[in-house]
Amino acid sequence: MALPDISRSMLNNSLVLGLFAVLTVGLVAVTQFGTADRIAAAEREAKARALGEILPAGSYDNHLLDHPREVFDPLLGNKTATPAYVATLKGQPSGIILQATAPDGYSGSIVLLVGVLADGRLAGVRVIGHKETPGLGDKIELAKSPWIRSFEGRSLTSPDESGWAVKKDGGQFDQFAGATITPRAVVKAVHKALQYFDAHKAELLAVQENSNG
């Protein structure tokens, strides 16, 4: 049965289009299949490296990403539950990395990773997201200024309550030239994260022991 011209061209075009759809989807599928493992590895590696930088080398021997635990508390300032990564050394919990949010940055929230050692001292703090003014408030990034390292080794008792503020407010942490609000917000958020850790220390570190054992 001979098809009219229009139908034939429609059929032909549909076939060509379909063929190309199959070909291109196939190409993408093959590439995805070939790269999936590599991508997963790269993603993990990048995340592990970012977390690993916060804790001192040698203070843990587990894979930090292995047993993340969801935590949520007003003291952390996060809007949703966030993962907390517990570090262990020879099976004993040695520290934890918490995500905290400073809601009162100069322009919006500042998201931090706060690494706390088991004894309550800060291992390190990193900013993972912010919208602060370039050249002023963005000195909270390690790439721009070493300021964020000034938290290392601090704890709830050193300095004491009144010392947890920028120098302008009578505390012990430097502010930046021309920017006070940003470091003030970060100092406050880190302080609160420490308070959270202090209040929930047993439960935060104990859970990990169980899951390991």
């Binding site: 100069y106 322009s107 003014t133 370039p134 050249g135 002023l136 030239a177 021309g178 006070t180 609000i181």
Partner: protein
């Protein structure tokens, strides 16, 4: 941009460009003196250095563009840009900062558009915004009143030696923005330099610019429409959103009128005949737009003061404002406003 929307008759006055420009520069004198009285030699150094840079850059660009040097240099517009910038920049801004600001204002703000009369943006404000965005630290370093000596000041500006740490302090607008704990009275008591009439304080600088502005209106160099629009809008906005003098205060109307670059902006910037609106009604609207934006930026924006940003934004709107505010043409009954079908 001064699109000639206003039709004849045009009376021919004696306001030549050169005379206008020189009078504007002269009217800045009270403000410049007040700044010098308050902050020391820095403002005067800025004035001289900015003027030298402006004339040199203008001459260089004119030479590249193969335009007659003397004719364009004599109009004094580069000088006015330099004077306005020198007054707007912090008194002890490093020399290279002034160089970049003035250079950008003249080259990118004016000459690349084709010279005086063709620039859609106010060149001085363009230069100011460029350095404000690029160098936030020196741009927010205002000295405490009467704290910097002549010799230290000069050394600081030209990079020979730095002023001791802590020479700069927050301006009133900065403090208001950063303040979270003090009531207004406490904040002001802590910083006598913020003023409230009497004493050595920044409000006198604004009053001095007001004086210069009134002189220009008296001389018919500028009309009262744009300044009234801006100051009126700023007053109304700060009255509507005035929430008392607690620690979350937005600042009183009087404070907003007499702080930051309010008066400099109202009488010397929004009255720019090239980048502003041209009809009288248009000028009122243009000024009001600036006033509203200034308040929005000061209160909820990312910068403590917003005159420069507000002026640039309204510069963009000026041709549209002109389009909708064409005055009645002589001999016609109604003004032609807005788009018409079949036009």
């Amino acid at each position: 941009m001064a699109l000639p929307r206003i039709t004849s008759p045009h009376a021919k006055g004696n306001n030549r460009t050169q005379r206008v420009m020189l009078l504007v520069a002269a009217a800045c004198a009270p403000g410049a003196l007040a700044l010098t009285w308050l902050f020391g030699i820095g403002t005067l150094v800025n004035l001289v250095w900015a003027s030298l840079v402006a004339v040199a850059v203008e001459a260089a660009i004119l030479a590249v563009r193969r335009r007659p040097l003397a004719f364009f240099l004599k109009d004094g517009s580069a000088l006015v840009t330099a004077v306005l910038l020198a007054l707007a920049l912090p008194p002890y801004a490093p020399w290279w900062l002034t160089l970049v600001a003035v250079g950008f204002a003249i080259i990118f703000g004016k000459q690349l558009y084709g010279g005086l009369g063709q620039n859609p943006f106010n060149p001085a404000m363009l230069g100011y915004v460029v350095v404000l965005i690029s160098f936030p630290i020196p741009m927010t370093s205002w000295p405490a009143p009467h704290s910097v000596g002549v010799w230290e000041g000069l050394q600081h500006i030209f990079g020979l030696a730095s002023l001791p740490d802590g020479w700069s302090q927050a301006t009133a607008l900065d403090s208001l923005k950063v303040n979270k704990s003090l009531t207004m009275d406490e904040l002001w008591a802590q910083n006598p330099a913020f003023g409230q009439f009497g004493g050595k304080a920044v409000e006198w600088v604004n009053l001095a610019f007001l004086l210069g502005g009134l002189f220009l209106i008296h001389k018919k160099i500028i009309s009262w429409h744009a300044p009234l629009g801006m100051l009126g809008a700023l007053f109304v906005m700060s009255l509507i959103f005035w929430n008392g003098s607690g620690s979350d205060s937005n600042g009183s109307p009087l404070f907003h009128l007499l702080t930051g670059a309010t008066m400099l902006g109202a009488f010397f910037i929004v009255t720019d005949p090239v980048s502003g609106a041209t009809s009288n009604l248009g000028r009122v609207i243009f000024g009001a737009g600036v006033g509203i934006l200034v308040y929005l930026i000061r209160t909820w924006g990312g910068y403590p003061d917003g005159v420069a940003f507000a002026v640039l934004l309204m510069n963009l709107a000026a041709p549209t404002i002109d389009y909708y505010t064409r005055p009645r043409t002589y001999g016609h009954r109604k003004a032609e406003r807005g788009f018409k079908l079949g036009e």
